[in-house]
């Protein structure tokens, strides 16, 4: 019972945290935000509230770890550097001397580095003034994690101009006379028809952060929902955090996101994006005869559900099966299975007696010993 109460308490905390970060609720985690000008200028955008902390102090970059931020370092020396964000500037610090700012990028100013502090690396191995890894992204040298800040109030990047939502999602993100929607890079972009500028951003992948990016220190207290904590214990290599439907696996050494795990109960669902790491078919065996990939739809399992996914966009278009995932042979029957729940078609064969009881879960009927409450056998209950 104590365990249960404790879990409930943690649940309360975990649920309150991401809700507080909802877009539009305005800088819930604001604290010492130094980027007031950015907030004032751009007012009410989706991501600023989540980034409200405004500081990326813990943003150490490991040369080997990052796909995106590591690109910054290509022209640099063989030691790690730090980035700090102050308002709309991102400053790169030499790690040896914290106050030796190597260069500063002004996010308002067309993404160019400000050379007031001496850009030692300018021109080295660059394409159109961008580090090579960022140049090919065709978004003005912007690492994807910072893209959202620059896109608000700007025109949508060429690459996303034709990324029209899959048919099944157009009812949810409905174009109207004032706005239309496009997506890309973990975000949904609402574009104002009058001005053709991005008017608001909605993260499709958690906070919009992807594997290989830095996990923002402002999220460090976003704990995994209690019902999933047992599945994602922190280790010496990784720790886990949660935001907006996704569990982030974060590398302790580099603070870079190593993996994204979508959770239906945590909020991932229709209209959200399934991370690319879910590109291969992984539906549980008992459901494979029913849910297989077709040219129109893919089916993927992630904790809590089987998702129907649009193969082109990787956006979730439906949730055909919910899975509880908490019963297994040899284990005790978990809390919540007090009531007999065997499907009607199987009730004649599997009914409770004083010596044996049956419970249904995720396509199987489990045989349980009423005395010990241990699960003793499993019977497939799907055709």
């Amino acid at each position: 019972m104590t365990r249960f109460i404790l879990a409930a308490g943690v649940a309360a905390l975990a649920i309150s945290a991401p809700v507080g970060a909802k877009p539009g609720e305005g800088g819930g985690h604001g604290g010492g935000n130094k980027g007031q000008s950015v907030k004032a200028d751009r007012g009410g955008g989706a991501m600023k509230a989540q980034r409200g902390g405004g500081e990326f102090k813990a943003a150490k970059v490991n040369r080997s770890g990052g796909q995106h931020f590591a690109n910054f370092d290509r022209g640099g020396k063989g030691h790690a550097q730090k980035f700090e964000r102050h308002g709309n500037k991102v400053a790169k610090f030499d790690r040896g001397n914290r106050h030796d700012i190597v260069r500063v990028r002004d996010l308002r100013d067309d993404n160019r580095f400000d050379s007031r502090f001496g850009d030692r690396f300018a021109g080295r191995g660059r394409i159109d003034g961008c580090p090579p890894g960022l140049a090919k992204k065709n978004n003005g040298c912007m690492p994807p994690g910072l893209l959202k800040n620059s896109l608000l109030g700007r025109s949508i990047p060429l690459a996303y101009r034709n990324s029209i939502l899959p048919l099944g999602l157009r009812d949810i993100f409905r174009d109207n006379d004032d706005f239309y929607y496009r997506y890309g890079d973990g975000y949904l972009y609402r574009v104002d028809r009058r001005t053709s500028l991005v008017d608001s951003l909605l993260p499709l992948l958690g906070g919009g952060y992807m594997p290989g990016q830095l996990f923002p220190s402002a999220y460090s207290n976003y704990y995994v929902p209690p019902q999933y904590q047992a599945f994602y214990p922190d280790s010496s290599d990784y720790y886990y955090r949660y935001n907006n439907g996704y569990v982030y696996q974060v590398d302790r050494g580099t603070s870079l996101i190593a993996a994204l795990i979508p959770l239906l109960m945590g909020g991932t669902g229709v209209g959200q994006m399934l991370p690319l790491s879910y590109s291969s078919y992984n539906v549980p065996y008992q459901y494979r005869s029913m849910y297989y990939d077709t040219p129109d739809y893919n089916y993927r399992y992630a904790p809590g559900a089987i998702y129907q996914v649009d193969p082109r966009s990787n956006l979730i278009t439906g949730v055909p099966v919910l899975l509880a995932n908490d019963l297994s042979v040899g284990a005790p029957l978990p809390l919540g299975y007090d009531a007999y729940n065997v499907p009607l078609a199987y009730r004649a064969s599997y009914y409770d007696t004083p010596t044996v009881m049956y419970r249904y879960n995720d396509g199987y009927i489990y045989q349980v010993d009423p005395a010990t409450r241990l699960i003793t056998a499993v019977i497939n209950a799907l055709v």
Binding site: I164, M265, G269, Q308, Y337, P343, Y360, N361, L382
Partner: protein, 190 residues
């Protein structure tokens, strides 16, 4: 002549508009995209088909993509709050669920109304008796509900401590069973 030209221009404008809109095509029904095998397993009279298609519960389920779940093989026990139950919600809660960015929260609330397997009212009653007056029911949302009996009716207490009375029960469907309740259940939160 003018009279002929004008309708033509309007028609041309209409065609152009629908071309721009991109949503001119009929949206896919997630439930309709299931394979034949899944449909067969779900049966003809699914929970999704049996619900009031214009009711607030079904509309909410649709906007969270869970209409496919209710049309899928299941089986599930679904606790459907009446429209009157939705009307009791604070206005800001109901309004926020209509927004795409609140879908996470809506999904959490809806999956709290879906239980694994087919649980008839009688099964809940027996569990209450065996459990000395209360039974714990797991939901697909991860939280649990506590079932008790009050005045001959089954009462469900949610994570937030509020109570819902089962007002209509045992609507048997090919992929589960539906019970009606008079309050929207809310998972535990701060």
């Amino acid at each position: 002549m003018n009279r002929i030209v004008l309708p033509l221009a309007v028609a041309a404008a209409a065609v152009t508009l629908s071309g721009c809109d991109q949503s001119g095509q009929k949206a896919n029904e997630p439930g309709a995209a299931q394979s034949g095998e899944a449909k067969k397993a779900a049966g003809g009279e699914t929970i999704a088909a049996g619900l009031d298609q214009n009711g607030r519960f079904f509309q909410a389920a649709k906007s969270a993509g869970l209409d496919a779940t209710l049309a899928g093989p299941g089986p599930y026990t679904v606790l459907v709050p009446d429209d009157a139950a939705f009307a009791k919600l604070p206005k800001e809660t109901a309004d926020s669920w209509a927004k795409p960015e609140s879908r996470a929260q809506l999904t959490g609330v809806l999956t709290y109304h879906i239980l694994p397997g087919t649980i008839l009212a009688d099964d809940i009653g027996k569990a209450i008796d065996n459990g000395k007056g209360k039974a714990i029911l797991a939901t697909m949302g991860g939280g649990t509900l506590t079932a008790t009996r009050e005045g001959g009716k089954i009462v469900l207490t949610d994570g937030a401590g509020s109570k819902a009375t089962v007002t209509g029960s045992d609507e048997k469907r090919s992929n589960g069973v539906v019970h009606h309740i008079d309050t929207v259940l809310m998972p535990a939160k701060a």
